[in-house]
C-alpha cells in the first residue's frame, strides 16, 4: 500500500470516528445545565486546540532535527504538520466565537485558548508564506527550520503572556467556555474526540507528506530532463 493510500485509509477511519463522536456528543452526552447545548462545542474546540499546538511543537522539533541531520524527510514532515496545524487552528478560531457568542455575549473573547491559537495561526501563516517564497528546496528547508524553531520557542512565551494578562486582569465572569468539572460521560466523549482528532492529524499529515514527496520526485525528474 502506498503512502498516499495509507494516509487515505487513516483519514477515512478518522472521519468515521469523528462521525461517531458527533453522534455521541449530540445525542448521548448530557446537556450542561448552565451553558446549555452550546457547551458541546467544547468537544470539538478543545481537541482541535490541543492538536493546533502539538502540530506547531512538532514543526519546531522537526526543524531542530533537520538543521543537524539535513534529512529532507524531516522538512517534508514539518511542511505537512504546518498545513494541518493551520486547518486545526481554523477550526478553533471558528468554533471559539460560535461558542463565545451565546455564553459570553460577544463573538470574540481574549480568553487564553483563543488568544494562544490566534498567535499560533499567525505563526503558521508566516511559516507557510516563507515556504512559498523560497524556490530552492535546500534553502527553503533551512529557512523553514529556523522559523519553526523560533516558533516553538515562542509557544511558552505566548502562554506566559496570556497567563500574566489574565491573572492580573481577572474577568468578572460566572460562566467560562471551558471545562466544567467533567462527569464521566462527558469526559468519555471528550476523549473519543481527542482520539478522532489524533487520527485526523496522522491521516492528514501522511497524505500531505506523500504529496510533498511526489512533488519533490517530480521536480527531480524535470530538472534531470533539463540537464539531459
Amino acid at each position: 500500500m502506498s503512502l498516499v493510500q495509507k494516509g487515505r485509509w487513516i483519514t477515512l477511519v478518522a472521519l468515521v470516528c469523528l462521525a461517531a463522536v458527533y453522534v455521541r456528543a449530540l445525542a448521548f452526552t448530557p446537556v450542561e445545565r448552565l451553558q446549555g447545548p452550546a457547551q458541546k462545542i467544547f468537544y470539538l474546540h478543545v481537541p482541535a486546540a490541543l492538536w493546533t499546538e502539538a502540530a506547531m511543537v512538532l514543526v519546531g522539533l522537526a526543524g531542530i532535527f533537520y538543521l543537524f541531520l539535513k534529512d529532507p524527510r524531516l522538512d517534508r514532515f514539518a511542511e505537512a504538520s504546518a498545513e494541518v496545524g493551520t486547518v486545526f487552528a481554523t477550526i478553533v478560531l471558528t468554533t471559539g466565537p460560535i461558542w463565545g457568542k451565546p455564553i459570553w455575549g460577544t463573538w470574540w473573547t481574549w480568553d487564553a485558548r483563543l488568544t494562544s491559537t490566534l498567535f499560533l495561526f499567525f505563526l503558521y501563516v508566516g511559516y507557510l508564506l516563507v515556504r512559498g517564497a523560497v524556490r530552492d528546496p535546500g534553502l527553503r528547508a533551512r529557512y523553514a527550520a529556523v522559523l519553526g524553531i523560533c516558533g516553538l520557542c515562542l509557544v511558552p512565551f505566548i502562554h506566559l503572556s496570556v497567563f500574566l494578562f489574565r491573572t492580573l486582569h481577572p474577568q468578572p465572569i460566572i460562566l467560562k467556555p471551558s471545562a466544567p468539572s467533567l462527569p464521566n460521560s462527558m469526559l468519555a466523549t471528550w476523549l473519543f474526540s481527542l482520539v478522532a482528532f489524533t487520527l485526523l492529524y496522522v491521516g492528514f499529515v501522511t497524505q500531505r507528506y506523500a504529496l510533498s514527496l511526489a512533488r519533490a520526485a517530480q521536480q527531480d525528474r524535470s530538472s534531470d530532463a533539463g540537464h539531459a
Binding site: L67, F119, F122, L123, V125, G126, Y127, L129, V130, A133, V134, L139, R142, Y143, A145, V146, L147, I149, C150, G151, C153, L154, F157, I158, L160, S161, L164, F165, T167, L168
Partner: protein, 226 residues
C-alpha cells in the same frame, strides 16, 4: 569574547557609518515617529478618555513602527550594497556578524526612540519625571527583544520574494509577548504603581530577551551559510 565584540563592532560601525552619512533613513524614521504620534492625538477624544489610559499603547505602537522601519532599512542597505556577500567571505565569525547587525539596528532604533520619547511626553503631557529611569529600562528590554528576532528574520527574508512584506508578517507573532509586557509595565509606571506590580512582566521581558538573543545568535548562521 573580546575578539567577538571587536569584530561585532566593526560590522556595526560599517552599517552605522553608511546610515548616518546619508542621514535619509534616520530623518525619515524620526519624522515618521512624529507623524504617528500626531495622528494618535487626532484619533482620540481627550474629554472622553483620559490620555493616561491610552498613553502606553500610543507609545508602544509608535516604537513598534520605529523598530519595523529600522529593520526594513537595514535590509535595504544589504540589498543595495551587497555587503552581505562581502562580509561572508571575510574571516568574520557568524556570531560577530549577527551581533554587529544587532548592535547597528539597536543604535538606530535607540536614536529614533530617543527622539520619540520626549515628543511623546510633550504631545501627551505624560508625567514621566519620577519614573524615567525604569521607563527607559523597560524600553531597552522590549526593544532588544524586537530587534534580536527582527535582525535574524531580516537575514532570512533577504533571498525571498516580497521580502519586506514577509518580514513584517513573520515578525508579528514574535513582537506580541515583549509588546504585551512593555505596555503593561509602562501603564503601571505611568500610573504611579509600585514596581513590584510589574515584576511578572519584567521577568517575561528579561526571559524573552535571554532566550531569543541566544537563539538568534545560534540560528543566524543557518540563514546566511550555504
Amino acid at each position: 569574547m573580546g575578539e567577538l565584540l571587536a569584530q561585532a563592532w566593526t560590522v556595526a560601525r560599517k552599517d552605522l557609518v553608511l546610515e548616518f552619512r546619508t542621514r535619509t533613513a534616520i530623518v525619515s524614521a524620526v519624522v515618521f515617529t512624529a507623524l504617528v504620534l500626531t495622528v494618535f492625538n487626532f484619533g482620540r477624544d481627550p474629554t472622553a478618555v483620559p490620555t493616561i489610559d491610552l498613553a502606553p499603547t500610543i507609545l508602544w505602537v509608535t516604537f513598534t513602527f520605529a523598530a519595523m522601519l529600522a529593520l526594513n532599512r537595514a535590509f535595504q542597505l544589504e540589498l543595495e550594497n551587497q555587503a552581505l556577500e562581502g562580509l561572508l567571505v571575510s574571516p568574520l565569525s557568524r556570531t560577530s556578524l549577527y551581533w554587529g547587525k544587532l548592535i547597528a539596528n539597536l543604535v538606530f532604533v535607540a536614536v529614533v526612540e530617543g527622539v520619540g520619547l520626549p515628543l511623546f511626553v510633550l504631545f501627551f503631557d505624560v508625567p514621566v519625571g519620577r519614573v524615567l529611569l525604569p521607563l527607559i529600562g523597560v524600553i531597552a528590554l522590549a526593544t532588544l527583544g524586537f530587534v534580536a528576532v527582527g535582525t535574524l528574520f531580516s537575514a532570512l527574508v533577504i533571498r525571498t520574494r516580497f521580502a519586506e512584506l514577509l518580514l513584517v508578517v513573520i515578525l508579528l507573532p514574535f513582537l506580541l509577548p515583549p509588546l504585551i509586557g512593555a505596555v503593561q509595565v509602562t501603564a503601571r509606571l505611568l500610573g504611579g504603581r509600585p514596581l513590584s506590580e510589574s515584576v511578572g512582566y519584567l521577568k517575561l521581558l528579561a526571559a524573552y530577551d535571554i532566550v531569543f538573543v541566544s537563539l538568534a545568535t545560534f540560528l543566524f548562521r543557518f540563514t546566511v551559510d550555504e
